[in-house]
Symmetry: C2
Subunit: 318 residues, 2 copies
C-alpha cells in the first residue's frame, strides 16, 4: 500500500489540502481560495497546481494511496456535490470523478461532518469505539453516525442530518432548511447568538452583552461574558446545553452509542456547555441508557482536523 | 447446512414455537403457556418436551441449524433477558445459554421488534432492502433498525427504542418507561385508546364511542367507529398519524431509510392511519428527503410473523 493519503477540505472561503501519513501526521498542507473561481475547471486547475507542488516538495508523487474530500452536501455514493451555497458552480457536481481524472488517483468524497467522524475514528477520540455519534457544533449542527465501525450513509447517501431533528414543534425558530424548530437553530454557534438576542429582548436584567450591538453578538461574545461571570450569558449556555441534552437522549434510543463526540467552536466552551448538557442528557435519558453514554471532545487539532478527517477517507478510496 | 431453524416467540401469556424451512415456510408450530411456570426451569422442561415432540413428529430431529428467540428486553450480545414484566423469573436471565444447553443447538436471542425486522428482511416486505426501519404498533411501539443490511444493536445491545423518542416536551403523557411524552404514549394501540378518552372528555360532539364505557375503549373500537363514518374517531386517526409522521421525518434524518415498515394491530387500520401518516411525514420532512421514504406494510402473515421473525435469527446462531 502506498504510504500517504491526501485530504481536501472544501469550505465556502478556503480549500485546505494536505498530505497525511498512516499515523495521522499531516506531512504538509496548503490552501487555495474556493470562492475566487467562478468556473469549477479553473478551480480544479488551481487545486491541481497547488497539490502537485505540495507533493513534489515532499517527495510524495506516486506515493498517494487515495484522496479524500470533505465538502458540504457531498454524497459518498454518487461522488457528487448535490447543492452549493454561495459557490456558483453547477450542481450536482461530479467532483470525485473530476478530481480523480485530474490526478489519476482514486477519490472518495463525503460531507464535512462525516469526514470529521471518520477522522476521529481513525486518528482521534473514537479510536477503538465502534458505535458513536460525531456532532459538529459550528455555524450549523452537523453529524456523522458510526455503527459497527461503519459510517451510516443511508440508502441515498444523506443519512446523519441530526442538526435537523425537530426540538420545538410549536413556535420553533426558522431554519435554513425551510422548516422550524430544528436542533441547529438552537445549538449551533449562530443558535447561541440567536438565543442571546432573544434573551436580551425578553429580559431586562443587566448583562455585559448589552454593551454589544445586538445584531453583532456572536457565540464567542456570549462565552466571554459567561466566563466573566455574566449571569444572563451563563443562562444562555444552560438553555443551549439543555436542548442539546434532550436531543442526545433521543439519539441514544436510535443507535445506543458508546459515546457522542463534540467538535467545533462551541465544543470549546468547556463546562459552561458540558455541565448543563450532561445533566440534561441524563435527566431526559430512557432509564436503561442512563449513565452509559460518554460525552467526549474531539482529539484532533483544530487546524488539522478537517484535512485529517477528509484524508482518512482517502484510505477507503477505490 | 441443516435445512431447518426453530423460532420461539416468548410473550407474556403464550410461548409460540415453530419449525421453519429456508424459504420461510412454517412446517409446524405449537405453543405452551408462559405464565403457568413460576420456576423458569419448569418452563424450560415444558418447552423442551413440546419442541422435541414437534421435531419428532416432523422428522426434524438433528436437522435444526439454530434456534432464534424473540422476547421482550432480550439482548442479542449477552443472550440474556434483562427485565421481565409480569413474569416472576430472576433477571438478568441467561436464556440463550439455558436453551442451548437444553437442546444442544446454537441459540440466538433478540427483542421482538428486532426479530420482526429480521423476519421481514429474510422473508417479507424488506427482502432486498438494505436500509429500513421496522415499526411495530402494538400495545407499545417497538422498532428494529436495519442499516447496510445489518440490524442495529448499538454498543450495549439495546439500540432501536424509537417508541421512546420524546414527541411532546411539555405536558406529555406519562409513559411506562417513567418519562413523559414518548411516541408510544400516542401512537400505540393503547395510545389511540388514550387519545379517544382525551377527545371524549375535552369535546362535546356526538360520537359512536360515547356508547362505550370510557375506560373500556380500545383502538379496535376507534377503528370500527371511524370505518362507520364517526367524525371524532376519524380525527383520532388524524391525530395519531400526524404524530407518527412527525416522528418518521425525524427518524429519516438519522438513517435515511429506503422504507419504514409497519407491523402490528394498528398497522391494519389502512388509509385511516396511512393517509394522515404519509401527509404528515412529507409535510415535516427535511427537503432533501421528501418523496423518498416508502411506508410499507409487513408482508408476514400475522399468525406466523413472530415465529418467522425469531426463526430467521436462528440462521445466524453460532
Amino acid at each position: 500500500m502506498k504510504p500517504y493519503v491526501v485530504g481536501i477540505d472544501i469550505g465556502g472561503t478556503n480549500t485546505v489540502f494536505g498530505i497525511v501519513d498512516a499515523r495521522g501526521v499531516v506531512i504538509a498542507s496548503s490552501s487555495i481560495k474556493t470562492l475566487k473561481h467562478a468556473d469549477v475547471n479553473d478551480y480544479l486547475d488551481d487545486l491541481h497546481e497547488g497539490l502537485t507542488r505540495l507533493m513534489e516538495a515532499n517527495d510524495a508523487v506516486d506515493k498517494i494511496h487515495g484522496i479524500g474530500i470533505g465538502a458540504p452536501n457531498a454524497n459518498f455514493y454518487t461522488g457528487t456535490i448535490e447543492r452549493l451555497v454561495n459557490i456558483p458552480w453547477p450542481t450536482p457536481l461530479p467532483l470525485a470523478q473530476m478530481v480523480s481524472e485530474k490526478f489519476g488517483i482514486p477519490v472518495a468524497i463525503t460531507n464535512d461532518a462525516n469526514a470529521a467522524a471518520i477522522g476521529e475514528m481513525t486518528y482521534g477520540a473514537a479510536r477503538g469505539i465502534k458505535n458513536f455519534i460525531m456532532i459538529t457544533l459550528g455555524t450549523g449542527v452537523g453529524s456523522g453516525i458510526v455503527i459497527n465501525g461503519q459510517l451510516v450513509y443511508g440508502h441515498d447517501g444523506f443519512a446523519g442530518e441530526l442538526g435537523h431533528v425537530i426540538m420545538k414543534r410549536n413556535n420553533g425558530r426558522l431554519c435554513g432548511c425551510g422548516r422550524t424548530g430544528c436542533l441547529e437553530t438552537y445549538c449551533s454557534a449562530s443558535g447561541v447568538a440567536r438565543t442571546a438576542r432573544e434573551f436580551l429582548e425578553l429580559r431586562s436584567d443587566d448583562s455585559l452583552l448589552r454593551n454589544i450591538t445586538v445584531e453583532d453578538i456572536t457565540s464567542k461574545d456570549v462565552y466571554d461574558a459567561a466566563v466573566n461571570g455574566d449571569k444572563l450569558a451563563q443562562e444562555i449556555f444552560e438553555f443551549t446545553g439543555n436542548i442539546l441534552g434532550e436531543a442526545f437522549a433521543d439519539f441514544t434510543t436510535f443507535s445506543s452509542p458508546e459515546a457522542i463526540i463534540l467538535f467545533g467552536g462551541l465544543a470549546k466552551s468547556g463546562e459552561l456547555l458540558l455541565r448543563p448538557l450532561r445533566e440534561s442528557m441524563e435527566r431526559n435519558m430512557m432509564p436503561q441508557f442512563k449513565g452509559k453514554v460518554k460525552i467526549l471532545l474531539s482529539e484532533l487539532k483544530e487546524a488539522d482536523a478537517a484535512v485529517l478527517g477528509a484524508s482518512a477517507l482517502g484510505w477507503e478510496a477505490k
